[in-house]
């Protein structure tokens, strides 16, 4: 009886120890691959699962942002997040014809963006509902991944968005969605919008560390 209970105790502690060990080690190295819902890599954009091999949290976070930046720094996004008064087109050339931001990013009185850009891409025209230029404080043209990383987390420069709102914007905003639905002559951004959303969320969850 006595030895039985001692054995039971020993067995229980062993189980607890194994259990704990498992919990601890599972948490530390919880491989993102064990998540069944990670979207696969797609057209030049890696899956969140591909970052599991990086064991250092900060290093993984930085790598995730660099992956996100492949989209943010793509022409389809930068052309509408320019540093000047005019949009860009193609691979960063000035927009033809000359159009200006105007007061609200929707163009000059008498030549609004919607004179030419419709609700969706059509023939050679890029399109999306409410087509207009990102405000100057959200300019990405010519900026490093690190600079964009710092800027989009700064409520002064990101339209007052919380991290959750930013993730929402990446995943669901219609102007962002345009990145994968341009007219035929233009190359879509890498991957797809849902994959961008997952990578961005994984970056937030990993501590939102900016690359060097």
């Amino acid at each position: 009886m006595k030895s039985f209970s001692r054995n039971l105790w020993a067995a229980t502690s062993l189980c607890v120890a194994i259990g704990l060990g498992c919990v601890v080690s599972c948490q530390r190295s919880r491989p993102p691959t064990s998540e069944p819902t990670w979207l696969p890599a797609d057209r030049g954009l890696r899956s969140v699962a591909d970052f599991a091999v990086i064991s250092d949290d900060d290093e993984r976070s930085r790598a995730l942002f660099l992956e996100v930046a492949k989209v943010l720094q793509h022409d389809r996004c930068v052309n509408c997040h320019p540093a000047g008064e005019r949009p860009l087109q193609r691979s960063g050339e000035p927009h033809q014809p000359l159009v200006v931001r105007g007061e609200d990013g929707f163009g000059a009185p008498g030549l609004g963006c919607d004179t030419c850009h419709g609700e969706s891409s059509y023939l050679n025209m890029p399109g999306s509902p409410h087509w207009h230029l990102a405000p100057l404080e959200m300019a990405w043209e010519g900026k490093s991944a690190r600079a964009i990383c710092q800027q989009i987390q700064d409520p002064q420069r990101n339209g007052g968005k919380s991290p959750a709102e930013l993730a929402q914007h990446m995943t669901h905003d219609e102007l962002v969605a345009y990145g994968w639905a341009p007219p035929e002559q233009l190359e879509p951004a890498p991957g797809n919008q849902r994959l961008l959303g997952q990578l961005f969320q994984a970056w937030l969850d990993s501590g939102a560390v900016c690359p060097e």
């Binding site: 014809p97 000359l98 159009v99 008498g110 919607d114 004179t115 023939l123 050679n124 025209m125």
Partner: protein
């Protein structure tokens, strides 16, 4: 497919592919040939019409996008601003070959509707999408200033 569109105040029931450019419908179906085909890629402005009073390049607008909206072409544009523009265009004798002029006029009316007394810069920014191969730009600018004065 059967669509119903409103052009210059008249209802038209047409049977076309909804993806057809509005410009083709205006010119080929409704025979409103005042609106011109220039480049077909929103670079020249010759096909400018108004949709719900705002300027629109008809060559890059699918006809489905104007169902339930009011389309106005050079044949139908009216009111004090349009009258002042027409008068100024005639008195200054703006056109040379004339091909781009209906687009120029539709853009000028749209500008003057937004800004009653546009500056040179306002004119540059509103009219930069309307190209004229005869380079009548200086007369266009004068005519817009004159129309602005007359419309007041």
């Amino acid at each position: 497919m059967k669509l119903s569109i409103e052009v210059n105040g008249d209802r038209h029931d047409i049977d076309v592919d909804p993806e057809t450019p509005l410009l083709w419908v205006l010119r080929d179906e409704l025979r409103l040939t005042g609106t011109k085909y220039g480049c077909g890629v929103a670079q020249c402005g010759a096909c400018t019409v108004h949709v719900d009073g705002r300027p629109r390049r008809a060559c890059v607008a699918p006809v489905r996008s104007v169902v339930d909206k009011r389309v106005t072409t050079i044949e139908g544009v009216s009111g004090p601003t349009a009258d002042a523009v027409r008068k100024a265009w005639v008195s200054i004798d703006v056109p040379q070959c004339g091909y781009c002029q209906s687009g120029q006029i539709m853009s000028a009316v749209a500008l003057l509707t937004k800004i009653r007394r546009p500056s040179d810069e306002d004119i540059d920014h509103a009219m930069s999408g309307n190209i004229c191969r005869c380079a009548t730009y200086i007369r266009i600018r004068r005519a817009i200033h004159q129309a602005a004065g007359d419309a007041e």
